[in-house]
Symmetry: C4
Subunit: 257 residues, 4 copies
């Protein structure tokens, strides 16, 4: 694989689709919020994305080999169809973020997708019982349209940069003929691995934007179930980063299987 | 995005265009001189360049998402048309400089552009009230043509190398069928972020080369307005460099949004 | 060479081929097991793979230049044809593993290959007189089919990740239209360079899977013969890693020949 | 420039050409030996190679901009035509060696070139008044053919690896349909920048192989003339390596021109 590739298993016809993206990040808010949507909306997987910029190992999970990937799901709603993108990981390499993001946007375009909302976390260092949801967009129309849903768009001074695919997917969307927004759930930041409360706050907003109902009663239970796998993913990636650092040490040729 | 891309918003017809390039660098002289030209000459944007070798984050600026980019503007003058290229950043990776430079030269060629002048700074460590402007060219004809404008071409011994896109754009121009020159405004170097005096000195030279008038009365004021954004750009990139260094530390998976 | 390339010397017609892969790794179990098969089955070489992600040097071996490579062999058996892939090295770069693996899978596909078994080692830290063979697969059918041969598929909790090409070849196989399995011979791990006992255990399993006979009486002797070359390979690569670390030191421009 | 490129200025017709390569390396023996041949044989330049894997700066030399490059020359002799390849530098990146070497071999092939001899140095740590010339080849026929010229092919145990383009050009030649040999002049190694005595020893051998006469009376004088430029090349590259190390320090954004 010379470059990031999307392997398509089926090609659904989608009506005016909007893509909701939940990749790992601060508090894994995007990952668990959109992962929960996949379960609750009974979304169907139709493509997988692999990248040379993901870590070069496979995980053993439930006695089987699991290869790091991002996954595209879709579900149909009354108003419009939804593409849900979740992932095991982001790339470990700065250049990789651009490659993966470009591949995703190109792929979304083939379905006539015109809008992308990425979900992430914003670590404040404080514990908040009613976490706010912040929004960052590429044009003021989006802000006008969505302000009424309780998104806090007044973010200058609070949020300086959004690092990784969640920011770039929106930041490059317009060049690919789409519009986009980042939704950031307020969370404490370190060292919480998953923050279901912030994920829930974001889901409440997404319900309004997408004009759908998401039953949130099972979120704690589902997040608990996801938690172990996400924790293992983080652990092996941390391990991999350590090993890559040691890669430069001669004796470390041997960690390869 | 697998490689650096130029997204063209309109394709103007240009008459014998010359490209003036102002990218960030020592004293940001190129950035502010050419940025000022864009304002004063009321140049129109017609293309944006994004690169996987720019930092993988978006900035929040005035409550909106700003993605790192270089921008192409054009303006028409009596003598010839001018393409103005300014940018938020240069690439953080040595290989990236070549990629971006190749893309720029290829793009300029499609407009029949035959000449490129890049503007940069030369840090002397001294404060100079009347900063000199140094010139480096790829052939002696340019030196002969432009010496009369007060450019100091006697630079061996003073300037050893020109690092980054400003040097390479000119150094590779001939292989792409163009000629070029680097104009370096004398500046103290560290730690001045923007040096409007040196920028002004370069603009005085460019006026003569381009046979145009640039009203320089508003330069201090305009530079002050640009200053904040440039400072933020520098700050977030410095932050990003620090984070990329820490990227190899397992606990730092978490800085991703 | 911009990318990993397979240079084909002849293109054999192969009947329902299965590919057995033995690359360097823990205890070099794959490398010596599959290397031994090449000798014993009198397999014929038909292609060589070179990669920009292998170290950029040539070795002197028996007064001749040896360039780092992977090699494809084939042999015909009653039941089905076998492609044997052995190599001097894996890539030193994480991204390289994906590139090499993609090239291998693309190449295997052109022969109608539908199955790939990679052989590696699993370092337990214990000495075991009768080393177990562990298996990891991408789907439960393989486990059902092969369990009877004495492979231990109950690996969760014992094996967390499989790093490098052996894991990825199987992990990505399905996306390329193949099925796969990793066979891991139990070995002590450090600091044994070659572990013929574990290799023998894996070969006993492969005999059953492939329905062939492999005369194992000469394995110790053959491994001894291979040992020197493998040791030199490891030594020069360790040296190269040290030199690449020092590459950033100015004085080290000079190690280049 | 996304990849290494050869810019061809004229396309000579060449009769059974052999390519002699002199790139910078230990004692710069190849660089000065082949550089001297270019002068003495009045060879004509017909192509230049630039690479994203060369350092991203231009040098100021004699008040002009000099961009790092390799250069192809040719000259016609009674027996066969000769392509001479000399260069300012090798790539700073391991992957780059493969890319540059592949581009060179592809380019040579377009001229029907079937043989390549690279010239390098072998640092022994000893001063030798009559330096030996060592040879490393990819097949035994070359050894048989050239042994009579006084090349020492008995190198196992003395030379372990040949790092960089000189080794790889020969190591990969066969896969590109060529044969090749590395000629290594014995030299002390550190810290001599140029070793004309070893270069002379190699030239004596090349005279015999190529059946030409090279007037060696001016070599000391010519090497002295080349010395300054080579020393500056080395100095700026060492500087660049230092700066690239510091690149990761936030304050070092500023060294860019």
């Amino acid at each position: 694989m010379l470059e990031t590739r999307v392997f398509v298993t089926k090609k659904p016809k989608l009506r005016n689709p909007i893509c909701i993206v939940g990749l790992p990040g601060i508090g894994n808010i995007g990952r668990i919020a959109v992962g929960y949507m996949v379960h609750e909306l009974k979304a169907k997987k139709f493509a997988e994305l692999y990248s040379p910029y993901f870590f070069p190992f496979v995980m053993i999970h439930n006695n089987m080999i699991h290869t790091l990937r991002n996954e595209f799901y879709y579900c149909k709603t009354k108003k419009r169809d939804i593409i849900l993108l979740i992932g095991d990981c982001q790339t470990y390499d700065p250049k990789g973020h651009y490659e993966v993001v470009g591949k995703i946007l190109d792929f979304l375009k083939t379905f006539g997708c015109k809008a992308v909302i990425t979900v992430g976390g914003f670590g404040t260092g404080r514990v908040s019982e009613k976490p706010k949801v912040y929004g960052a967009a590429t044009n003021s129309d989006i802000i006008k349209d969505y302000k009424k849903y309780g998104i806090n768009f007044d973010i200058s001074g609070q949020i300086g940069t959004i690092v990784g695919a969640s920011g770039l997917l929106v930041g490059l969307a317009r060049s690919y003929g789409m519009e986009g927004m980042v939704l950031l759930g307020e969370t404490t930041g370190f060292p919480i691995i998953t923050d279901p409360t912030a994920a829930e706050a974001v889901l409440r907003i997404l319900e309004k934007i997408l004009k759908i109902k998401i039953d949130l009663t099972k979120i704690d239970e589902k997040v608990k179930a996801m938690h172990d796998f996400i924790k293992r993913l983080e652990d092996v990636q941390k391990q991999a980063i350590s090993q890559m650092k040691k890669r430069d040490k001669p004796e470390e040729l041997k960690y390869i299987g």
